[in-house]
């Protein structure tokens, strides 16, 4: 069974509005990037907390009626790969069911 993965912002990554765009700095890669709208929207969702690709697409779908959930999922998948390669987000295994109980 495939384990679910959640995505989260790289700790200490910087995201700033610059003019009509967003710029981001990754402490992992040392890269500064000017983000397109999709990438900026994904990072904005992740600023609120970790989420998987489907949850991100669902959130974006709630914000825009222009694209279907399926289209958004494809878009998110592509953008996430680029953001991950740039060191702006990290992929982590989602907590196992019952994790909180075991930890508690």
């Amino acid at each position: 069974m495939q384990r679910l993965e959640s995505l989260e912002l790289t700790p200490k990554a910087r995201i700033e509005a610059v003019g009509a765009s967003w710029a981001a700095f990754s402490p992992l890669s040392g890269e500064t990037l000017i983000l397109n709208d999709e990438a900026a929207a994904i990072l904005e969702v992740l600023q609120a907390g970790a989420a998987d690709e489907r949850a991100i697409a669902t959130q974006l779908n709630a914000d825009t009626a222009e694209l279907s959930l399926a289209d958004l999922q494809g878009l998110v998948r592509g953008a996430v790969m680029s953001l991950e390669a740039a060191g702006l987000l990290l992929r982590r295994p989602a907590p196992l069911p019952g994790h909180d109980m075991l930890a508690g």
């Binding site: 610059v18 003019g19 009509a20 500064t32 000017i34």
Partner: protein, 311 residues
């Protein structure tokens, strides 16, 4: 006011003797250079291109300790050389002894670019007027030095020809005041622009062709510890025959240009990013294309009048 006389009013024998031992201290503003050499040629060249800098003994702290020596053995007599040494390390190939000044200039620029990582160092001309700084980041060959030189001869205070040194804490541009290094055609362009411009000797056949240095004014030297908040960033590009063009550059395009033209962007990491974002948010940017220096100066002057109310 400095208690020390300026170099150009100091007897050449005294400068030569001090340079040999214990050395000269050149306070450039952000950086202080302690320079030692037995080269009589270099002493005279320094007096010409650092005329208004005080003749200081190296008693106070210096950031860079540079020794230019003539080499050993037969090299002392046959095709003598100038060798650059800093902290007992030789970082560069020797130059002919007659070219000691360009060696000192390039060598010390390289050291500043390597070491002053408490500032974001842009490869940029920097000048000040009305209390605000104008930054001119550019790649080599863009006409940056020619434009910086012309501005410094037209009422702007020279902060640096090479380094737009931005203090990440305050956002101010700090002077790194050295002579403006003019290359090849730029030398004649500046001679024609200002026949009385204080140019030092021309050094032919360097790796960058012929080089000559324009001295900083007495006023710029006196103010070399005074930074200025940046008010604009202009990305200059000289293009043969081009009509003057000054096009606004939006912040999202200016930011990568700033990062690209920084010596130490990656070294400073997030501090670079924060300083660069602050700069492009505070300062409008323009792309300047020009072929005639007078046109470029007129365009910059007009832009500045609109941007910075005269103090």
């Amino acid at each position: 006011m400095s208690p020390h006389p300026p170099l150009h009013l100091t007897a050449s024998g005294a400068v030569r003797a001090a340079l040999a031992s214990p050395g000269l201290r050149l306070d450039l503003g952000l950086a202080a250079l302690h320079l030692r050499s037995r080269s009589a040629l270099l002493a005279g060249q320094l007096q010409r291109v650092y005329p208004h800098f005080p003749f200081e003994p190296p008693g106070d702290f210096a950031d860079l300790h540079v020794h230019v020596d003539p080499g050993a053995g037969l090299r002392r007599w046959i095709r003598p050389q100038a060798r650059f040494r800093c902290d007992s390390r030789r970082n560069f190939e020797p130059f002919p002894a007659s070219h000691a000044l360009p060696l000192v200039e390039w060598g010390s620029n390289w050291l500043i670019g390597q070491r002053f990582n408490d500032h974001l160092l842009l490869h940029a001309g920097a000048v000040e007027r009305d209390g605000r700084a104008l930054l001119l980041p550019a790649v080599p060959g863009s006409g940056k030095s020619t434009l910086t030189a012309a501005l410094s001869l037209s009422g702007w205070r020279l902060l640096s020809d090479e380094f737009g040194a931005i203090d990440p804490a305050s956002g101010e541009v700090r002077p790194v005041l050295k002579p403006v290094a003019l290359k090849n055609r730029s030398i004649d362009v500046i001679r024609a622009f200002a026949p009385d411009a204080p140019l030092g000797p021309a050094f032919p056949n360097t790796r960058k062709g012929t080089v000559a240095h324009l001295a900083a004014s007495a006023a710029a030297v006196a103010a070399r510890h005074r930074g200025a908040r940046p008010a604009a960033v202009i990305l200059p590009r000289w293009s043969d025959g081009a009509a003057l063009s000054l096009q606004p550059v939006p912040p999202e395009e200016l930011l990568p240009a700033v990062g690209f033209n920084a010596f130490n962007y990656r070294v400073l990491g997030a501090r670079s990013f924060d300083a660069a974002v602050r700069l492009v948010r505070q300062c409008p940017g323009w792309r300047l294309t020009y072929s005639r220096l007078d046109d470029a100066l007129r365009g910059i002057d007009q832009l500045w009048r609109d941007l910075v109310p005269a103090a």
